[in-house]
Amino acid sequence: MKPRYSIFSIARNAMNYHKDWERAWRSPNPKAEYDAVIIGAGGHGLATAYYLAKNHGMTNIAVIEKGWLGGGNTGRNTTIIRSNYLQDASIAIYELARSLYEGLSQELNYNMMFSPRGLMMLCQTEHELRAMKRTSHANRLAGLDCRMISPSEVKEIAPIINTDAECRYPILGAYYQPRGGTGRHDAVAWGYARGADAMGVDIIQQCEVTGILRDGGKVIGLQTSKGEIKTKKIGVVTAGHVSTIMDMAGVRMPIESMCLQALVSEPIKPVLDCVVMANTVHGYMSQSDKGELVIGGGTDPYNNYSQRGSFTALEHTVTALVETFPIISRLRMLRQWGGIVDMTGDRSPILSKTDVEGLYVNCGWGTGGFKAIPGSGLVFADTMANDRPHPIAAPFSLNRFKEGRLIDESVAAAVAH
């Protein structure tokens, strides 16, 4: 076990100028064979590995990463954490994830700064208001701590919101989840990596998967830029690049990869102490601990692997937020970037076995995967370890697209951010 992080360990190390800190994780070379291999060292992949080791005793496993761990969407999203979805299946997995986040810093001994500062979804049309009321009833009966709030409460919680009744989309109220919030995205990846590494999991970075080896309908291993690796279980957790990997195994996916952009403002003193989502106008905003306003919106309409999105999408998001938060007009955009998100036919994720024995897939989180990382990792690890869907994962199987059992959140006028 690694030496624990604490205020005391910092003080101790300060005495000799921090020369004795250990590596947070090793950088091992791949072994010839593993009991299981996860492809993709993003949050979902690392969490899967962590829970495989912790809950299922599978420590002879590896996580293979083409680039550097946490370098994909985990390190590019707007870090929103919430569980106030409409459909039972969604509520189950996102609330599992949210509740795991509550104690994650302590469990991983790595501060990922989960900040349940509250999250509100604005209602800006009668229709959206009705849809959110419906969601609030569903969430309350599912046991979630959520409620509708009035325009005046909205103003109280986020004074910089434009509540002018004459504006284009007047705020008729909001749907509020007090325990929703944000987390430090990099720290989630790093914390899981450090935790998995401590239990013996090999995290192999700068290693590209070039082929998946099969014997008939069975997985037997994979080819990588660092050589061949034998294994009977492969979990594909590569988000935007899932189709490319699954093609190697001859499995076609209901996925399209698009670019989702995010941006931050220059840092300013605190003005917004909760996460605000304005779904009618497609913009959402929170303020980071550094003081940057963290802003996201909708995806580009077309397939895009370039991690550079269209300025039009960004412009619409910013325009919507200038209207929602007039004071940001004179603030400045500091940095914009894009991530490749994997969109499914019903915009809900896939946690599933496949027709190839030993091949499992965890993808389709689209624009909202960060909030699900702990839950996704936990149920996917269980699914892989026991070769049967974890009850919470079951509704998210690939078969749903054949049966018409879609999990459509858009019906609640909600979005997956």
């Binding site: 076609r252 209901p254 309409p301 077309y302 692997y305 370039s306 039009t312 049966e403």
Partner: protein
């Protein structure tokens, strides 16, 4: 923001003047034989998509121009268009030759079917 050229009316414009219509050459099984469509065929038609990193084949509409649909071959990394062709047509042979993976397989099948 990418620029698109409409092969029907020749209008050139920014992507905002056009409408993206998703993957090209998706077959609607019910049109030809409504009585015998399997669940798998229906799933493939509704949900399964080619999603290549690289050359892709798509449907676009000249939204702010002539309003016509057309086909395009586009690289999903550089975002550059490689060819435009009619909504009822197959890509030019030299473009088909560049198709990889599932797309290559698809066009092989189509060519067989043609003969």
């Amino acid at each position: 923001m990418i620029t698109v050229n409409c092969p029907v009316c020749g209008a050139e414009g920014d992507e905002t003047d056009f409408h993206y219509g998703g993957q090209a050459h998706v077959r609607r099984p019910a049109t030809t034989d409504a009585a015998n469509v399997t669940d798998e065929e229906q799933r493939d038609y509704l949900f399964i998509r080619h999603n290549p990193k690289g050359l892709h084949f798509e449907r676009w509409r000249c939204d702010r121009g002539c309003g016509k649909w057309f086909h395009a071959a586009r690289d999903t990394v550089s975002l550059d268009f490689k060819a435009y062709y009619g909504i009822t047509e197959l890509p030019p042979d030299e473009i088909i030759a560049q198709a990889k993976g599932p797309w290559a397989d698809y066009f092989k099948e189509r060519m067989k079917a043609k003969k």
